[in-house]
Amino acid sequence: MNVHVQPRPRSRQMILERVRAATHSVTKGAGELEDAYAALPRGYVRSGGLSGEARIALMIERLREYGAEVIECGPEQVQAAIAAQLASSGKHTFVVPAGLSAAWLTPGFEWKIDRDLIASEIEQAEGVVTAAFCGVADSGTIVLHHSAAEARRVLTLLPDWHLCVLRARQVVETLPEYFARCEQAPGLATYISGPSATADIEMTRIKGVHGPRLLHVVMVRDE
């Protein structure tokens, strides 16, 4: 059996021809296109005006509004902060990405390191610990680019409890500042703003539909 559907060059060509015919009077040539894009109006706020301290305070406030538990610690106390969160979680089995610092794996708990774990194994874990790429204070968003310490996407999805270690240096104030930090567009990215939620029944906001219901953040004050 064929792996792929036979391509249908006719529809492709027809659609592109119709699109080009529809826009021929306004479409730019290759060189002009670049200029036209560069000239698009961008009068919105690109970078925020908060001081470092206020920026972190805003991030923490937003996370707490979402119901996330946030604890702050110095760069030297990350291990201890993680251990405290684990201890108070009442959970025992955790999955972690292979790229996470081994020092963070507090003894006394069961750690499953993700080396091609299958979904059912991940689902049996009670929690997950990861790093992050960035935090956006304005909307309390945690950005994952799914690097080796940020885990594959499925790891932060199936367990019910997510502990994320975020460094103050990683926190920006506005969304455009995050995009400015991406030297290259990520192939995979997940933006998490509070636990999963729905308002589909009478607009009543219910937290925790399918993703992790509990989000914990360790904010490392490394600035």
């Binding site: 059996m1 064929n2 792996v3 792929h4 559907v5 391509p7 249908r8 529809s11 659609i15 592109l16 119709r18 699109v19 529809a22 826009t23 306004v26 479409t27 730019k28 290759a30 296109l33 036209a36 894009y37 698009l40 109006p41 961008r42 919105y44 937003r62 059912s120 956006v136 909307s139 594959r152 996407r153 499925v154 999805l157 969304l175 455009p176 995009f179 991406c182 567009a185 192939g187 995979l188 990215a189 997940t190 933006y191 998490i192 703003s193 636990p195 999963s196 939620a197 729905t198 308002a199 589909d200 029944i201 009478e202 607009m203 009543t204 219910i206 925790g208 539909v209 399918h210 993703g211």
Partner: protein, 485 residues
């Protein structure tokens, strides 16, 4: 009235005209109450979060400009998207119309030997009526968005593009879930109802290896697809299965990844009144070891390129499906979504649906508006919906002008006669005279006409008409001149 007592028709080729389609809704107080409540909640949240955004208008301006630029150069950006997505391991398909899109998807599912498929909410799949087609082809579809489950299990249709089941209240949801999931002791607490869905779907997510999604955005620069959601059902569908099929309209392309800094800020605020939706996912083709290892994108035209060709109407395609226009619309608030006879209701539906049908159907929709402009004011990409509505109305009229049957159309004849009369002073004065004499018999003591005979009754059905005064301005002016002489 019990829920599901009538099944709305959301096929514009079969749906009744708007004025008759609204009648079942206007007679259903429960439905109207559900719609008004939901709209009030979203509007209040949106208003608060838009007000705190000091650069809201600048974001709208940028959003409109980015979308307009993408559409003006759509050929370039579509090809760029195809090239980059293919390079990343995706397979891009092109579907000229709904039938071709359905066939491509069914063929892909056959290759996977898929008898079941999990779905992320996608209005585009509803547009091409994918679910009934898949069922008839022997593929069972499982909707995974909470609202879509309510509708699928309740055999109902979406009435809103962001919260599709906003016309259903909690006790109706309880009834549907307890009947279809066999949960006798279920209460109508939204938390308990949501938990029932979490349990119901968890196994499906883990077991069904094929998923279908829509796309909020396609990024030309990177070949990435972006899905914006709240519940996490989207992340489940686009992470766990083996094979992922994304169906997207050709207009969904953004030039660059960075453009999301504008679109994501305006979308969540406009759609659900949040600073940011809980989950946004970006993926690019196939990533070994993470997520589906086979990925297909079906790019759907289905009338979009013909909208693109029209200067005024082109802006319709800027739409990012936030639904702010329907939440702000005084007509939608009264009628809900089903009356629009399309998966795209409200003001955007009133301009999009007739155009997707190339004005062969849904011709009553451009009139389903008071032209108050609230939709334009809230639109995050500045689609001037009233302008497009007027353009479409004129095209509907022009279409009628070419038909042979127009000579039997009282509206057409009436306006032709009126134009004749207004263009000749003596005819106008004569008509005024006869009008004064004729209408005098209908005028009541209070000076108002409460009911007109025959076709004029349509006017007085919902309003009174002031009786003509005994003297016209012309007559008064002439008499005054005579007196002063």
């Amino acid at each position: 009235m019990s829920h599901g007592s009538y099944h709305p028709i959301l096929d514009p080729t079969k749906a009744p005209a708007f004025p008759s389609a609204v009648l079942p809704v206007l007679r259903n107080p429960q439905l109207r109450k559900n719609v008004a409540h939901a709209i009030d909640v979203i509007q209040a949240k949106r208003g608060k979060l838009v007000a705190e955004k000091t650069d809201w208008q600048e974001l709208r301006t940028a959003g409109a400009a980015i979308r307009a630029h993408a559409l003006e150069n759509l050929g370039f950006y579509l090809e760029q998207f195809e090239e980059r997505c293919t390079a990343a391991g995706g397979v891009v398909h092109w579907a000229a119309d709904a039938a071709e899109a359905r066939q491509i998807i069914v063929k892909l599912l056959r290759e996977e030997n898929a008898s079941e498929v999990i779905k992320i909410k996608t209005m585009t799949s509803a547009e091409i009526q994918l679910n009934p087609f898949l069922e008839s082809a022997g593929v069972r579809t499982y909707e995974t968005d909470l609202a879509e489950i309510i509708l699928q299990l309740g055999e109902d249709e979406p009435s809103h593009i962001v919260v599709p089941a906003l016309h259903v209240n909690r006790s109706q949801v309880r009834e549907i879930f307890s009947r279809t999931m066999g949960l006798k002791d279920l209460s109508d607490d939204p938390k308990e109802l949501t938990n029932a869905v979490r349990t119901y779907l968890r196994r499906k997510f883990l077991d069904i290896p094929t998923a279908i999604s829509g796309a909020n955005f396609l990024v030309a620069e990177t070949g990435s697809v972006v899905v914006v959601e709240s519940e996490g059902n989207g992340r489940m569908c686009l992470t766990l299965p083996r094979t992922m099929i994304t169906l997207a309209g050709i207009e969904k392309v953004l030039p660059r990844f960075q453009d999301l800094e504008v679109m994501l800020q305006v979308l969540a605020r406009s759609a659900t009144g949040e600073r940011m939706n809980p989950y946004t996912s970006v993926w690019t083709g196939v990533k070994p070891g993470d997520g589906p290892q086979k990925f297909h994108v079906v790019l759907l035209d289905n009338g979009r390129s013909s909208i693109l060709a029209k200067k005024t109407e082109r802006q319709t395609l800027r739409c990012i499906r936030c639904a702010a226009c329907m939440n702000a619309c005084p007509v939608y608030r009264q009628t809900g979504g089903h009356a629009y006879g399309s998966v795209y209701p409200g003001p955007i539906g009133a301009i999009l649906t007739p155009q997707l049908m190339e004005l062969h159907h849904a011709r009553s929709l451009p009139y389903a508006s008071s032209l108050c402009g609230a939709c334009y004011e809230v639109c995050p990409v500045k689609i001037n919906i009233p302008e497009v509505l007027l353009e479409l109305r004129s095209r509907v009229v022009n279409q009628g002008r070419d038909q042979a049957g127009r000579l039997f159309d009282p509206m057409y004849l009436g306006l032709r006669i009126a134009s004749l009369i207004f263009s000749r002073a003596w005819l106008f004065h004569t008509a005024q005279f006869f009008g004064r004499v004729g209408l005098r018999f209908l005028r009541r003591k209070d000076g108002w006409i409460h009911s007109l005979p025959s076709i004029g009754g349509k006017w007085t059905q919902t309003r009174d008409l002031r009786g003509l005064p005994s003297q016209t301005f012309h007559g008064w002016w002439a008499a005054r001149k005579r007196e002063t002489k």
